[in-house]
Symmetry: C2
Subunit: 155 residues, 2 copies
DNA sequence: GTCGTTATCTTAGTAACTAAGATATATATC
DNA sequence: GATATATATCTTAGTTACTAAGATAACGAC
């Protein structure tokens, strides 16, 4: 094996470990934020889905999280009770329940991510557009791999 | 704002979203793996810590996960019962309990990550050493930010 | 209108968690 | 060396989020 190949293998090993740690830290951050706003971390995860997708049905939340619909009932109850979300019947299909974020919910959660976002902005500032493009490209490829892997594991 | 700056802002926004998604997917992967080996996802997280740090005390696991020592007692019971780890008294300080992985545990878990690792190797193969260095650098900076953020949130 | 399907909720039971206190060992003080 | 304090884990009782299975209500096809 050439010198360069060995270097690359070491680089990849370091990157693997770093990605693994980053993943674990992601869990810890959302856990800490959830605790601070008085929610279970699953509840915050669902609220996150609601922000990314807009009002969603209870069934959609169950599918996205892998929880049963019964668990989602309790989860949405907690989100409602804490004032982060509310239920609304879908006028087009009255079996469905749309869960939507309360307007003021974001104002209560965003500040907790403020310091993280600022720190990340300082990280982003270190890189050129070309470099950020490369990093985004890598991240997107990781995502594709993750999506396929999750599907395969749950098969 | 110049054209280039707007591009960069858009790039950063895309990267933020991608990182957020990647973090959520990390949770889902470890959840799926844990279910497959018949463990709670917290149990697998602890097993991961044991692999990364070697034999650790129950207290260290409590600190690393944020769980109470009582919860760790039950967690280690489950790991022992499932044959993934075992307790051993620390000969130097007999109050301490060292938790170590059973030699055969890795052989039961690693295969579940095999397909992920192979897919990731194909991703890595797309990049040069210089590019991988850049990505590793970025990942490490993210980690530093995460460590500080977690400490601040739990303060 | 009736039947099968879909979406959510309800109920009963389970498992992991916390908080507080018990136990055993270690360390410091006199 | 005996006593007091601190540390590390375990135990117990009670809480909470979860699953599984079935109830309820609304939709769609015939």
């Amino acid at each position: 094996m050439s010198r360069g190949a060995a270097d690359k293998a070491a680089l990849i090993a370091a990157l693997e470990l770093a990605l693994r740690r980053m993943s674990a830290q992601g869990v810890m951050i959302s856990q800490a934020v959830a605790t601070k706003v008085g929610l279970a971390s699953t509840d915050l995860e669902c609220l996150d889905i609601i922000y990314m997708e807009g009002p969603v049905t209870a069934g959609r939340l169950a599918a996205a999280t892998g929880l049963t619909t019964g668990a989602i009932t309790g989860l949405v109850d907690r989100l409602e009770r804490a004032g982060f979300a509310r239920r609304r019947r879908d006028p087009d299909d009255r079996r469905k329940v749309l869960v939507e974020a309360m307007p003021e919910a974001e104002a209560r959660i965003a500040p907790l991510y403020g310091s993280l976002q600022q720190a990340m902005q300082r990280v982003y500032a270190r890189y050129s557009k070309a470099e950020l493009t490369l990093i985004l490209d890598f991240t997107n490829r990781c995502q594709e791999v993750a999506v396929q892997e999750i599907a395969q594991l749950n098969r």
